[in-house]
Every structure is written in structure tokens, then in C-alpha cells.
Amino acid sequence: MSSKTRNSLLVDVQGLHKAFGTHTVLNGIDLQIHEGEVLCVIGPSGSGKSTLLRSIAFLDPYNSGDVFFEGRLVGYRTTGGVRRLSTERELNNDRAGFGMVFQHFYLWPHMNALANVTEALRVVKKMPRAEADAVGTEMLAKVGLSAHAAKYPEQLSGGQKQRVAIARALAVRPRVMLFDEPTSALDPELVGEVLAVMKQLAAEGMTMMVVTHEMGFAAHVADKVVFMDAGKIIESGKPSELFGSPKSERLQQFLNTWRERSI
């Protein structure tokens, strides 16, 4: 899979800084995601992994640094050397390449599974209902939920909800899928079905950035793993390198704790 990293650069993060008041959350992050790559971000709670993901998607604006998607700045427009916030409409354009999956799914409870998946197709892409429903049905089939299209979120299990959320994000054909701890809110026995869908996506060549506590997934599916602590990237590389021979003491400690816990 390492040959994938020769592919074109999709996401380029440079010198990202973010603070909430005096508390620094991101302290100079540089990160690249290439087309077809699966990048897993691991690290202790509060290390800034989710904030990094949300900053890339511009859900959390950052204080300084740049995020480029295919060479274009995300969240800002630069005119005559002066940077200003993108308008809501421009932001939608900036983000169009991103699909996002949240820890708590955030399906819309008043719509059934199919309607959740087709909503953006209907109101953003202005697709006729029949066409949108066809795409939606295809997406639900992809995540193994064809039989549940008419069900409302409250009638679905956590794993099923998250799979609908994945289908919803995929429906608008994003170039990069951003996963924010997609299995952290799930019962242990439901984690597998979501990871299986993500593995399948990875195998199909989808570019993915996954913030996760699932070390097994990171070890087996990721092309590159990034270990974060206290707002910095401490180590990054192939999963075999990070999990097999961690260089930094902090990562060794993190992995030891994780191994002890998982016994």
C-alpha cells in the first residue's frame, strides 16, 4: 500500500495552531494526506486529534496556519494578500471534497435512513427524487443496510446508525472521508460492523483520515499512522514502524497502557 503515497497530494496542513483561550490545543501541526491513503490519528484524549480533524473540515476555525485541499485554502479567501473568512457559500465550496463522520452519528431523527442519505442530494445537488433515491439506495446497500432504508434513526442500533451516517457522507461523492472517533460511542459488539464498512472503503481506494482508539484498525488498515500528544505530532510513519518499534518514550508509554488495558 505504500506505493499509494506517490499519488497526488489532497490535503496539506501547514503549521496549524489553535488555542481555546490560553489553552493550546494544536501546536504547529504539519500533515499531508495523499490520494487513496488511509491515515489514522491516534493519541490520548485531549491530545488534539479531534480538533485537528475538525480544523481541517473548518468546523473549528484555527488561529494560524494553513489547510489546503488540492492546493486551495480551506475556510479563507485571500485577496490582495489579505486573508478573510470564507462566506458560508464559499465555505460549502471549500469543503465539498470532504465527507465527515462523527462519533455521535448526528443523523436527523425526523427523517428515515434513506431520507438522511438523500437529503443533500435533494437540496444541494437538486436531484429529482427518483434519482436521489436510487443513489441513496445504492449507498445504503454499500453499508449493508438495504433492508433498513425506511427505518428512522431511533429504530436502528448504534452500529447501524453509524453506517447510515457513512452512507450519508458518501452520497455526495467526497474525495476524502474524515472520521472522528467513529466507533467510540458504540457497544463493543457493534464496533466490528462499522470497521468492516471502513475497511471495505479503504480497499476501494477511498482517501481517509481516521481519528481512532481502534489500534487494531490502525495497525491493519492504515497506510500511515500519526501519534499526537499535547497538540503536537510526536511520531508518524507506517503502522509497522509505530506499533512495532515506537521511537518516542511517549508513544511507548501510550502503547503499553493500551496493551495492558486490552488484556
Binding site: 458560508e88 443533500a120 444541494v124
Partner: protein, 215 residues
């Protein structure tokens, strides 16, 4: 004079008064809800100025008795070129007053929707207008039915204040009958009964709406 006698002698007048109260409250509720919803959106607007103006409006309306609002509009209105008959002034006053309360009810409804649902929509490129119309409003509607019905009932009862600016609604007509007949208990018992009828009708309608908006 007995209650039955008052009813017999003043039946048509009382019915007309009932109709006036219902008409006024219906129009005022509709305007108050629309204006209140606009205010709720303004309160959560990204524009600080807009949010601030809406907040001032809500605080003024919640902090002023309806009677004072009506007096200011009816007697103070002409000085700023607002010359209206008593009934339109009454409707306007009730609407402006009610909007302050509906704004807070709707704001609470909007805020109880997890922000993640809105973020998910934004990540899909769904416009702010569509987020309100298709994601927030439908869910908010379900949440705000019980407090809104409560607020409509309060408005119906507050509409009694319109009697002071001579609108011939239920309370005004009750007072008029009391003056003409020198009876107090009978006319006001009828007044109470009429309000109770309107309020119960609204409460019943409210339960039906509650069932309708369930999903």
C-alpha cells in the same frame, strides 16, 4: 339579574364579543409566532448586531405589562403617525408582546437540537436556509408545541386588557352588561365561561397538533 336572563337578553352581543376575541387572538397568535420565530433565528444569528437587537426586543416586551404596551400604541401611536382603530392596535399590541415570549420558546427549541446535526448538514453543503427549514424547524416544531399552546392560552387571557382601549371583546362587553344591568356576578360568570371555552378549544387543538407532529 340571573345568569340565564343575561344570556337571553345579551346573547347576540356576547356571541359577537366571543367572535371578536377569537378573531383578535387568532390573528395576533399567527403574527406573534412568525415574528417570534424570526426573533429566535436572530437571537442565534452569527451577526452580533442582529442577535443583540433581538435580545433587546425580547427583554423590552417581556418586561412591559401588556396594558402599558397597548396604552403606548393607542395613545402614543398618533404622535409617531400611527393612527389605528382600537382593534388593529389591540392585535398589533398582542402580536408584538407575544412575539417576545414565542422568541424564547422557539430559541429553546432550536437550542435543544444537537449542534452536531447542524454540523453534519454543513459538511454536506446544505445551506443555512435549508438547515433551518428542513432540519431545525421540523424538530423544533415538535418540541415547542406544548409551551406554545401554553403561551397562546396566556395571550387569550391577556387579550382581556384590550377592553381598556375600548375593543368590544369579551371582557369589555361583560363590563358593559354589568353597567347596564347593575349585575356583577352573572355577567362575569359568563365572561369566565366564554374564556374557558376558547381556552379549552385551544388546549384540545394543541393535543391534536402534538399527535400530528410526532414522528
Amino acid at each position: 339579574m340571573s345568569t340565564a336572563e343575561v344570556m337571553a337578553n345579551y346573547g347576540p352581543l356576547l356571541l359577537a364579543a366571543l367572535a371578536t376575541t377569537v378573531r383578535i387572538c387568532f390573528i395576533a397568535t399567527a403574527i406573534a409566532m412568525l415574528l417570534g420565530f424570526a426573533m429566535a433565528l436572530a437571537l442565534q444569528s452569527r451577526s452580533r448586531l442582529l442577535a443583540w437587537l433581538a435580545r433587546i426586543y425580547v427583554e423590552i416586551m417581556r418586561g412591559t405589562p401588556i396594558l402599558v404596551v397597548l396604552f403606548l400604541l393607542y395613545y402614543g401611536g398618533p404622535t409617531i403617525g400611527l393612527t389605528l382603530d382600537a382593534e388593529p392596535v389591540g392585535i398589533l399590541g398582542l402580536s408584538l408582546y407575544g412575539a417576545g415570549y414565542f422568541a424564547e420558546i422557539f430559541r429553546a427549541g432550536l437550542q435543544s437540537i444537537p449542534v452536531g446535526q447542524v454540523e453534519a448538514a454543513r459538511m454536506l453543503g446544505i445551506s443555512p436556509r435549508h438547515i433551518v427549514a428542513r432540519i431545525q424547524a421540523p424538530q423544533m416544531l415538535r418540541l415547542v408545541v406544548p409551551p406554545s399552546i401554553n403561551q397562546v392560552i396566556v395571550l387569550i387571557k391577556e387579550s382581556a386588557a384590550l377592553s381598556i382601549i375600548t375593543v368590544p371583546e369579551i371582557t369589555k362587553v361583560g363590563a358593559q352588561i354589568s353597567n347596564e344591568t347593575f349585575a356583577v356576578v352573572a355577567p362575569y360568570l359568563i365572561v369566565a365561561l366564554l374564556y374557558w371555552l376558547v381556552v379549552e378549544a385551544v388546549a384540545t387543538a394543541g393535543f391534536l397538533v402534538e399527535r400530528l407532529v410526532r414522528y
